[in-house]
């Protein structure tokens, strides 16, 4: 072979190589440059995955540290109907394992228009684990957190509930959702062919929700609920509400409504049972409202507790005639007796002396018609007529708690202010959130310490010798007021058969530790607050006084001792 031929071949080979490399280079440039984005997406979809790391929802504790709402691991079961080979057998197996309707599961598994269907969200982990072991084709599982209420019906209206997506839907779960929910984390992971994570490209850690500590005490709450349940059953009432409040701090120790419900099964419960009536519902308070009238008259120095009035059985106000609850002749009553005997005529007389304008101011000063600011969603401000809307007869019904609607928490706060030497403290349910320090609730003086002290003495008479004798607690001095109010009739006027019976009291009266409100809606057989609500108050107070701090020492005069041993 000549050298010339040899050189030609070498050049040819070189040309082939150059061409091959050129083509390769062009192809590489095409793939890396022009198609880079689309291939990048395709590749990343195959071996990288964006994973959302859910943040654990914060736990709700009571003041003793008991969990009232907690996050629990659950398994969500889903299916790809296109991969399900034997829908009939699979649906039977799934339905048996997860306690579902087999026909419904079968319908879902045979719907091949979808590539993903939920079989059961947040199923029981044990049930799901058994099902997973069966290895059914087309069935998938992933872990999710579900909300669990380990105390079941305890304070369920108050705590509320979180939905399937772990967002608060009612109660404190709703109002504190932002703090409880936390922030989910994100990760972009690279997987190998077997789906195992081999690298984490981007990582943003999750931030768990904050724990919430309530002022509520589960023992006091449970007892209040039990007493209310028994009261509703005894008087065949529509419902009942109770509030236990610490007057010095405004901390709510119990807020109960009967009938209650199990928060774990909220979707099956009527909405009407889910309401926290103590905050969201209003009622006409009746005689418990007379405290405002008397407090106004005392504060304006128009009367003293011993000032007497000659009171007939009835009184005319505009076109209305208002009389006392019990028939009687014309009597002379002191201001203290007006309150203890719950005289409507007496209260209206005091209100007329006080004047409409000043009464309106005192109603506002006690917080009626305004939100208390309690940390619970959906609070009602109550219904208070503005002064320019008052009719001629308003001065005849508002001073005795008719024609005005208040919430139980407003009423309990007003009595707590009197128990707290005239200082109103904003009622609150949340002690603290996470590690943050608890904040001091807002407070304002509404009556002088002297007026508060005089009112307490009058309220003690209500229980000692007035309408509230059934509220007495052995060993303790109790101050309180009964209330009985006819409910407004939808056809106009007031009903003759439907009443709200209530009692608000302070124990021990000498050194108040608790303010307890009990209101019973539409009791049958008896309608009086002193008969229906006062015994429930006594039951709650008796238990709570023994429970608080290992027992609150009795303060009744018969048990008063010097400094040695006291035997009541």
């Amino acid at each position: 072979m000549s050298a010339k031929a040899s050189n030609r071949r070498i050049r040819l080979l070189l040309g082939v190589f150059v061409l091959a490399f050129g083509l390769t280079f062009l192809r590489a440039a095409w793939l890396q440059g022009v198609r880079a984005a689309s291939f990048g997406r395709l590749a990343s979809s195959q071996h990288s995955e964006d994973v959302v790391i859910p943040a654990a929802r914060g736990t709700i504790y009571d003041r003793t540290g008991l969990q009232l709402a907690i996050g629990e691991q659950a398994q969500t079961v889903y299916a790809d109907p296109r991969q399900v080979t034997d829908p009939k057998t699979e649906s039977t197996t799934i339905a048996q394992a997860l306690k579902l309707d087999p026909n419904q599961v079968y319908q879902e598994l045979t719907d091949r228009t979808h590539g993903f269907v939920y079989v059961k969200r947040k199923a029981d982990p044990a049930q799901a684990a058994k099902l997973e072991k069966r290895g059914l084709p087309g069935l998938g599982f992933y872990a999710e957190e579900r909300r669990f209420y380990p105390q079941f019906s305890l304070a369920s209206q108050l705590i509320g509930y979180a939905g399937v997506d772990n967002h608060g839907l009612a109660g404190l779960e709703l109002s504190l959702d932002k703090q409880l929910a936390g922030r989910p984390g994100r990760e972009r992971i690279v997987k190998d062919a077997s789906g195992q994570a081999i690298d984490t490209v981007v990582s943003q850690p999750e931030r768990d929700g904050s724990d919430v500590y309530l002022t509520l005490d589960h023992t006091i709450q449970a007892n209040a609920q039990t007493v209310l349940r028994d009261t509703v059953a005894k008087w065949h009432a529509k419902s009942a509400t109770a509030i236990v409040l610490d007057p010095a701090t405004g901390a709510v120790r119990a807020m109960a409504t009967a009938p209650g419900f199990d928060a774990n099964s909220y979707p099956q419960v009527w909405r009407v049972l889910q309401r926290n009536r103590a905050v969201t519902d209003t009622y006409e308070p009746g005689s418990t409202f007379k405290l405002v009238t008397v407090a106004g008259a005392l504060s304006e120095r128009l009367v003293s507790p011993s000032t007497t009035f000659t009171l007939p059985y009835y009184i005319h106000v505009a076109d209305r005639t208002i009389h006392d609850a019990e028939p009687r002749g014309t009597e002379t009553m002191s201001v203290s007796q007006i309150l203890s005997r719950s005289s409507n005529v007496g209260a209206i007389t005091l209100a007329e002396k006080l004047s409409q304008h000043r009464l309106v101011q005192w109603i506002s000063r006690f917080g009626f018609g305004h939100l208390t600011g309690i940390d619970f969603p959906g609070e009602s401000p109550g219904i208070v007529l503005p002064e320019d809307k008052w009719s001629g007869s308003s001065i005849g019904n508002i001073p005795i708690g008719q024609g005005i609607a208040v919430t139980p928490i407003q009423m309990a706060s007003a009595y707590a202010a009197i128990a707290n030497r005239g200082v109103w403290v904003r009622p609150h349910l949340v002690e603290r959130i996470g590690a943050s320090a608890s904040t001091r609730p807002a407070r304002r003086r509404i009556v002088s310490p002297w007026v508060a002290s005089e009112l307490m003495a009058m309220l003690k008479n209500v229980v000692a010798e007035g309408t509230g004798t059934l509220a007495a607690v052995p060993g303790y001095q109790v101050a309180g007021k009964t209330g009985t109010a006819a409910k407004p009739d939808p056809q106009g006027g007031y009903s003759d058969t439907r009443y709200v019976a209530s009692f608000v009291g302070v124990v021990p009266a000498s050194r108040p530790r608790l303010v307890i409100l009990v209101s019973v809606d539409e009791p049958r057989g008896a309608i009086w607050g002193g008969v229906v609500a006062a015994p429930a108050f006594a039951e709650i107070a008796k238990f709570d006084l023994q429970y608080l701090d290992g027992g609150v020492p009795p303060d009744a005069p018969t048990t008063a001792t010097a400094s040695a041993t006291a035997t009541p």
Binding site: A56, T59, L66, Q67, L68, I70, G71, E72, Q73, P125, A143, E145, F148, P150, Q151, L154, I189, Q196, A197, I198, D199, T200, H218, T219, A222, N223, T226, V473, P474, G475, Y476, K542, F543, L545, Q546, G551, P553, P554, T561, S563, A564, T565, A566, T567, P568
Partner: protein
């Protein structure tokens, strides 16, 4: 007349012309450079090989750590689930109303009557 052959002095017979031997190049001068180059190449190859091995080893280590991390994440999730389950069990069993009910049923617990309760108050500083 003299012939050319006679007149011409006899010339030495032409010997076959041999190629001049190439003069030996100063090889000893260039050889140490080549050796150094080869040695340097080997060193570089070794260095690159070590670096490559290091990169591979590092990647393998990172891969192992990532796999381990993934396993630990899974383990953490399991432990967390277990903790949550235990916490809810504890919350259910530790509730005082439940304990009270059990005590009433099993041992006949009766709440004390406050009217019959004796409270002892100690004087200040008394022991």
């Amino acid at each position: 007349m003299a012939s050319w052959s006679d007149a011409a002095p006899s010339l030495p017979s032409p010997q076959p012309r041999s190629r001049p031997r190439p003069r030996p190049k100063p090889a000893p001068r260039r050889r140490p450079q080549a050796r150094r180059g080869v040695a340097g190449g080997v060193v570089w190859i070794a260095i690159v090989a070590v670096l490559l091995a290091g990169v591979v080893a590092l990647n393998v280590a990172v891969l192992r750590l990532n796999v381990q991390l993934d396993k630990l994440d899974t383990q953490r999730a399991h432990l967390r689930a277990e903790k949550q389950a235990l916490a809810s069990q504890l919350a259910m069993t530790a509730a005082s109303p439940r304990i009270q009910l059990q005590a009433q049923k099993q041992f006949g617990l009766v709440p004390a009557n406050p009217a019959e309760t004796t409270y002892v108050r100690l004087r200040p500083r008394s022991r």
